[in-house]
């Protein structure tokens, strides 16, 4: 009995054999296309709705500008231009409708291939319509967020003159944040590696070290960073230990952040080290390299390359945590912005701090993307 006998026998009762019975099976991909007209109609409806919402929002924006006293010929013509541009959203939807009806016509004439081409094209434009409609809608929502409730959000958070006036004051205070995280980052890189190696200390002699390291990591990952800053910033001066109690608030912040972030970074290092296949350790040890030499020359250099994205995430978090130093009294950018906000009865200075953090974070993210790409190209090896 050959393989083809295993297929179900057709109703006509023909016995199995090498040849396929005709009419029972046909190439599925050659079937006529389903109609795209309903989807196209939906696309047209949705895009039309979004265009109407756009015009509505533009009217509200105009009203807001009038309230702010900023309305004028330039602003008005800009709004009209945007309104006209918004209508272009309809074009892909309308096109898709035309193609869908075309496809149906061609189908009735019998040319399945051409119909499929037209239907595929119609669906392509339907997806484009929905995509851009969604994007445009998000832009509208953002605009509404700013002008809703008589410009409440804009007034509270985006008082531009106030932001401009106090920008340099906050920038000066931002130096405290930068100073803290630059030093903390270096310390965390070193301390995290030490703790990771402690967690991996081998043998029976290593067990107490592993236990202490695990305990430290568990505690400091459990405690919120703000509590750590309190404990260290208030607790250490209370001990009255000679030199340590006189450290500045910023030094305590660096210490607290190093210990907190170090716990997370240690785990990241450990994951990186353990991600290196054991065959690398086997090869290195087989050459006579000691445990420490293997770590130093073979495992850690490779492990670190793998963990650059999570390390960067950790650092970006650390940079934000520097704002917590305000709880021990240091006047960093955030604290300064709250002081100004209290004095001027407006939260816009806080937006300045937000802008500063965005400005420093995005370039770092792009830089590391590049570093990873360059290193990945070099590291593609078959050996595992």
């Amino acid at each position: 009995m050959s393989l083809s006998d295993a297929r179900p026998v057709p109703e006509s009762g023909r016995p199995g054999g090498g040849v396929q019975p005709e009419g029972d099976r046909h190439f599925r991909a050659s079937a006529p296309p389903p109609s795209a007209t309903t989807a196209a109609a939906a696309a047209v409806a949705v895009t039309a709705l979004v265009v109407l919402c756009s015009w509505g929002t533009l009217r509200s924006v105009h009203g807001a500008l009038v309230t702010l006293g900023q309305a004028g010929p330039v602003a008005d013509s800009l709004l009209v231009l945007i309104g006209v541009a918004a209508v272009f959203l309809l074009w892909p939807a309308v096109r898709s409708m035309r193609l869908a009806t075309q496809a149906n016509e061609i189908l009735t004439q019998g040319d399945v291939v051409e119909a499929r081409v037209a239907a595929a094209s119609a669906r392509h434009f339907i997806w484009i319509s929905f995509g851009y409609a969604a994007a445009q809608f998000l832009v509208l929502l953002t605009a509404q967020f700013f002008i809703a409730n008589n410009l409440a959000v804009s007034r509270t958070f985006f008082d531009l003159p106030l932001i401009g006036n106090t920008f340099f004051l906050i920038l000066k205070a931002f130096w405290i944040n930068v100073y803290i995280f630059l030093i903390a980052e270096v310390l965390v890189l070193i301390w995290g590696l030490v703790v990771a190696m402690a967690r991996l200390a081998p043998g029976a002699a290593g067990k107490p070290i592993r236990m202490i390291a695990t305990f430290y990591v568990d505690i400091f990952r459990s405690l919120p960073a703000i509590i750590n800053i309190y404990l260290i910033g208030f607790g250490i001066p209370l001990t009255g230990l000679p030199i340590v109690k006189d450290f500045s608030q910023n030094s305590f912040a660096i210490l607290a952040l190093t210990l907190t972030s170090g716990a997370y970074v240690a785990e990241v290092y450990r994951a990186g080290i353990e991600s290196i296949h054991w065959s690398q350790t086997a090869a290195a040890r087989s050459l006579g390299l000691s445990y420490m030499q293997t770590l130093r020359f073979v495992i850690i250099p490779q492990g670190v390359r793998h963990i650059i994205p999570p390390l960067l995430n950790s650092f970006i978090g650390l940079q934000k945590d520097t704002a917590l130093v305000n709880v021990i009294g240091s006047i960093d950018a955030f604290n300064q912005s709250i002081i100004i906000a209290s004095n001027r009865f407006n939260l816009s200075p806080v937006t300045t701090v937000a802008i500063l953090f965005i400005v420093i974070t995005i370039p770092q993210a792009r830089l590391v993307d590049r570093l990873i790409e360059r290193d990945r190209r070099r590291m593609r090896v078959g050996a595992t």
Binding site: A282, S286, L287, G288, Q293, P301, V381
Partner: protein, 247 residues
């Protein structure tokens, strides 16, 4: 006195026995091949010799000195016993030259200039001097394996263990690796090979050992083992190899 003496070793992985009283000897300048079905412990045996794995009982001696069990300076052992792996295991973050130089510089404490000169000499000998400053990912499988052999040779070992070093290679790349092994054998390097390359074993080995059920089931000169094995299991193993046209 044989260079390597393995006496009645036993080992279990959990409840699964690996060696049940295995004994084996390798004389100086001798090339011995280990054959046997997958999972019979060829790789494990090699790793026990250089201390990557431990044995539960029995003894392994090199040059009369016990090298298994407690109290052994395992780093010193590995300076004299080289091993080459099936998956090459080159260090991908270093160039080929750095791969070869790493252990001589860090373990043997050779000055960098001297280590580099010796490494380049070895690489030239096997025809890889052009790739010395490339990273391993730019080399073919055969070139990587040859580099791995050179890396082991750079430590000037007494014994070379070769763990199925051609099993990961495309057929057309196998020859260049085997050529090196042939040259090393001609120069008198003591080698213990785990291999599936029966034709090569027949040509180069002084002794072939068939591992099965945790012991050396049969051993002898290649001609006898391949052409007229005495044990039933050896025969059935070789029959399957022949059926697959590998012998």
């Amino acid at each position: 006195m044989p260079l390597i003496e393995i006496r009645d070793i036993r080992k279990r992985f959990g409840s699964h026995p690996v060696f049940t009283g295995l004994s084996l000897e390798v004389d100086e300048h001798q090339v011995v091949c280990l054959i046997g079905p997958s999972g019979c412990g060829k790789s494990t045996l090699l790793r026990c010799i250089n201390g990557l794995e431990t044995i539960d009982s029995g003894e392994i001696c090199i040059h009369g000195n016990r090298v298994s069990g407690p109290g052994i300076d395992v780093n010193a052992l590995r300076r004299d016993v080289g091993i080459v792996f099936q998956s090459f295991n080159l260090f991908p973050h270093m160039t080929v030259l750095e791969n070869v130089m790493l252990a001589p510089v860090r373990v043997l404490r050779q000055p960098r200039g001297e280590a580099e000169a010796r490494a380049m000499a070895l690489l030239t000998r096997i025809g890889l001097e052009g790739k010395a400053r490339e990273y391993p990912d730019r080399l073919s499988g055969g070139q990587q394996q040859r580099a791995a052999i050179v890396r082991a040779l750079a430590m000037d070992p007494m014994v070379l263990l070769l763990d199925e070093i051609t099993s990961s290679l495309d057929p057309e790349l196998v020859a260049e690796v085997l050529n090196i092994v042939r040259d090393l054998a001609a120069e008198g390097m003591t080698m213990l090979l785990a291999t599936h390359e029966m034709g090569f074993a027949r040509e180069v080995a002084a002794k072939v050992c068939f591992l099965c059920n945790g012991v050396v089931h049969e051993e002898g000169p290649p001609a006898r083992i391949f052409d007229s094995p005495t044990e039933e299991r050896t025969r059935s193993f070789l029959k399957r190899i022949i059926e697959a046209r590998r012998l």
